[in-house]
């Protein structure tokens, strides 16, 4: 009997905390939107975050994009060869990259690199009561800490995605045309034929959403960190896990809505 009530207790508590977190994230989003357009705009802080989230993630994103495109070309080549449609490798790589893999992989990489850093940074500031000090100085921590990060992420992740898309297609072209000897003209022509402008832009819209999600979750987790260095580590881990999962889940719904 005691065990049953304990189980129910745990279940209820986890659901409540889940709902509380979602509510907290939403409140953070709303207050961010509220503070975002309130001057001063703090462009310097935004640019600094852009450098951290975008420029410093470029190398990782370039690597993942290129190799994803290459492996896609290699895999789809073996599939298409079964019915002599090797020419479709190009369009397959391009469509996969622009619609799905570009945004999602970029989102995940940025989460791992920047989202975790946000949670750790803000968490440490919380634990060391720097955020409380900001309150004391009548400076809104959301305005100073959260808004630049979120704005930078929403702008920068789509740009990273564009780079990832392009390099992924380039990697696919390299594998397909140079290594696997698919006819160059057919490869490129099929890309132009089957890839629409919509595919690219919808992928970028997704990427913007992912940027919003990962920065929001990272900031929330860091902002609500409790209890010392251990809490900072926990917050970082949770931020990465929750952001990654929500990127994948949101990807499904965004795809269902947009395509």
């Amino acid at each position: 009997m005691k065990r049953v009530s304990e189980t129910l207790d745990n279940l209820g508590r986890s659901v409540l905390s889940g709902v509380e977190q979602m509510g907290g994230i939403l409140i953070l989003l709303i207050s961010t939107l509220g503070w975002m357009f309130r001057p001063p705009l703090k462009l310097r802080a935004i640019i600094k975050q852009m450098e951290f989230v975008g420029v410093k993630s470029t190398f990782v994103v370039v690597l993942t994009g290129t190799f994803t495109g290459m492996v896609l070309a290699l895999q789809s080549y073996h599939g298409f060869r079964l019915f002599s449609a090797e020419g479709l490798v190009g369009s397959t790589v391009a469509l996969s990259m622009t619609r799905e893999l570009g945004p999602v992989l970029t989102g995940l990489m940025v989460t791992a690199r920047a989202g975790s850093a946000m949670a750790a940074e803000l968490g440490t500031m919380r634990v060391t009561e720097q955020i409380d000090a900001l309150y004391v100085m009548a400076a809104n921590p959301i305005k100073y800490l959260v808004v630049p990060r979120i704005v930078a992420s929403v702008f920068v992740v789509p740009l990273l995605t564009a780079i990832s898309d392009f390099l992924g297609i380039l990697g696919g072209y390299f594998v397909g045309v140079v290594l696997l000897d698919i006819n160059k003209g057919i490869f490129v022509d099929n890309i132009y034929k089957y890839v629409e402008l919509e595919d690219i832009y919808n992928g970028l819209i997704k990427a913007a959403f992912f940027g919003l999600l990962l920065s929001l979750i990272g900031c929330y987790k860091g902002f609500n960190t409790r209890g010392g260095a251990e809490g900072v580590g926990m917050a970082t881990t949770e931020a990465v896990v929750i952001a990654s999962v929500s990127i994948l889940v949101a990807d499904y719904f965004l795809t269902a809505i947009m395509f």
């Binding site: 640019i47 600094k48 852009m50 450098e51 975008g54 420029v55 470029t58 019915f83 449609a85 479709l88 622009t98 702008f155 920068v156 789509p158 740009l159 990273l160 564009a162 780079i163 898309d165 392009f166 890309i191 132009y192 890839v195 629409e196 402008l197 595919d199 690219i200 832009y201 970028l204």
Partner: protein, 468 residues
């Protein structure tokens, strides 16, 4: 690296990102953006299954536009297209839905119209749309066809099957059998006539035998010393005289041998030998002529379709030289020999025509041949007439024309036919008899001939005196 500021790094990053994005958009959207311009043209199809919005519109495989919209109008699919501004479509172009690629993408192919036609203006409709090869439809049509075929076979089954059909079939078979019987009879009947002729020939030979028998009687009489010749042979007196004659003949020949007297000189003279040689040469030529001499026996029968008559000819062709021949023959015509009688009663002369049925008609002609052309004339069917033969393909094929029975009151009897050598001695012939007759005698005919060279007859002839 410290010289590069954060702002510069971010600026470069954004620039690179935007350039890549712009490049991709431009490359991918090139056709899409380009096609936004252009003028609208529509076309109505029975079925556009598989055709999508934005599908390519091509002419000769070159994209000239895109499908803008597909909607239903009066049970048909109205497809609106945007055609590139630089492309002019003639008024009589044809639109067709085609498939290409492994994914079976549908596109609209515009088949160019006639040069010089007026161009379609913006917003107008293409008049002709080719129907799409619809597999289901094809199967449906095939089903209809099969149903029709089954109807035919069913009705055939009804006609031929069942008791009535069987009776009909039996009737047909009976008719065929009757027909062949009749044919057989016709052949048999003519066989009899032929047999008759042969028996006549046999009678003739019997007569000849009788002649020979009486000749033999005569020689017998001579042998027995009967009559003048007999006495001459049998009388011993005469024999004695003959002996003496022979003795004196002996002495004469001796004298001749010795070159005595006129004859002796003659015999022993060189000139005599020369003369004799010439004479022998003459005899030789005579014999050669006999070798050239050829005779042919020809039986020819023809069936006159319009008269239902069977006419028979039996000819003997004597050919003393390669280019000259004589034809002797008899003709049996069931219509008979026609004789015209003029009867004068009370100053009015009427002509009465009579037919002597079963009467034989006679042919006696002489002819000459130049290469492939032969002319002949004389008696044809017991009247005066002429004929022309033209030979082709080494005499395997012969075209003949005859005109005879000339009279002031009627058209001459004309006959044209062709012979074809089927086997060595058998010829097939077909032609048109009496084709300008005023009495409705014209008739097509078909027949056959049996023709062979007879050596026995030839030798019989050569032992008789030969003309010239």
């Amino acid at each position: 690296m410290n010289s590069i500021s954060t702002e510069a790094k971010v600026g470069l990053f954004i620039l690179v990102g935007l350039v890549i994005l712009g490049y991709m958009s431009f490359k991918v959207g090139q056709t899409g953006f380009g096609m936004r311009k252009g003028y609208p043209i529509s076309v109505s199809f029975d079925n556009v299954a598989g055709l999508k919005k934005d599908a390519s519109v091509q002419m000769a495989g070159v994209e000239i536009g895109r499908v803008e919209e597909i909607r239903l109008q009066d049970g048909k699919a109205l497809v609106s297209m945007k055609i590139s501004p630089g492309v002019n479509l003639e008024r009589d172009v044809v639109a067709a839905i085609k498939t290409h690629g492994i994914l079976g993408d549908k596109y609209i192919e515009i088949i160019p119209g006639t040069k010089g036609e007026a161009y379609l203006k913006s917003g107008e409709q293409i008049a002709r749309a080719e129907r799409q090869a619809d597999f289901d439809k094809l199967l449906n049509e095939l089903t209809y066809v099969m149903t029709d075929i089954r109807k035919v076979t069913t009705s055939l089954g009804n006609t031929l099957g069942g008791e009535e059909g069987e009776a009909n079939l039996r009737k047909i078979v009976t008719n065929v059998r009757d027909l062949s019987d009749h044919l057989n009879q016709a052949v048999v009947r003519n066989d009899e006539k032929f047999a008759e002729m042969i028996s006549n020939l046999r009678n003739a030979s019997v007569e000849m035998e009788k002649t020979f028998a009486s000749l033999s009687d005569i020689t017998g009489g001579i042998n027995r010393g009967e009559g003048t010749v007999g006495k001459l042979v049998k009388n011993p007196d005469i024999a004695d005289r003959l002996n003496k004659t022979l003795a004196s003949l002996q002495s004469i020949s001796d004298k001749i041998n010795e070159g005595k007297g006129t004859i002796g000189k003659l015999v022993n003279d060189e000139e005599t030998v020369k003369n004799l040689n010439e004479s022998l040469g003459g005899i030789n030529r005579y014999v050669t002529k006999a070798e050239q001499f050829r005779t042919f026996v020809n039986y020819h029968g023809e069936y006159l379709f319009d008269k239902s008559n069977f006419k028979s000819y039996l000819d003997l062709k004597i050919q003393p030289k390669e280019d000259r021949f004589y034809l002797l023959g008899v003709v049996y015509d069931p219509r008979g020999r026609r004789t015209d009688k003029e009867i004068t009663t009370g100053g009015v002369t009427t002509t009465q025509t009579e037919y002597d049925k079963g009467g034989l008609l006679f042919d006696a002609q002489l002819g000459k041949r130049w290469k492939d052309l032969a002319l002949r004339g004389g008696l044809l069917e017991s009247t005066g007439g002429v004929g022309v033969d033209y030979y082709m393909f080494n005499d395997k094929f012969k075209f003949s024309f005859e005109a005879f029975d000339f009279g002031s009151d009627r058209n001459p009897h004309l006959k044209a036919w062709a012979d074809y050598q089927l086997f060595k001695h058998v010829y097939l012939s077909a032609g048109w008899d009496d084709f300008i007759s005023r009495h409705g005698n014209a008739s097509l005919f078909g027949g056959f001939s049996i023709r062979f060279e007879d050596d026995d007859l030839k030798y019989l002839m050569t032992t008789t005196p030969i003309p010239k």
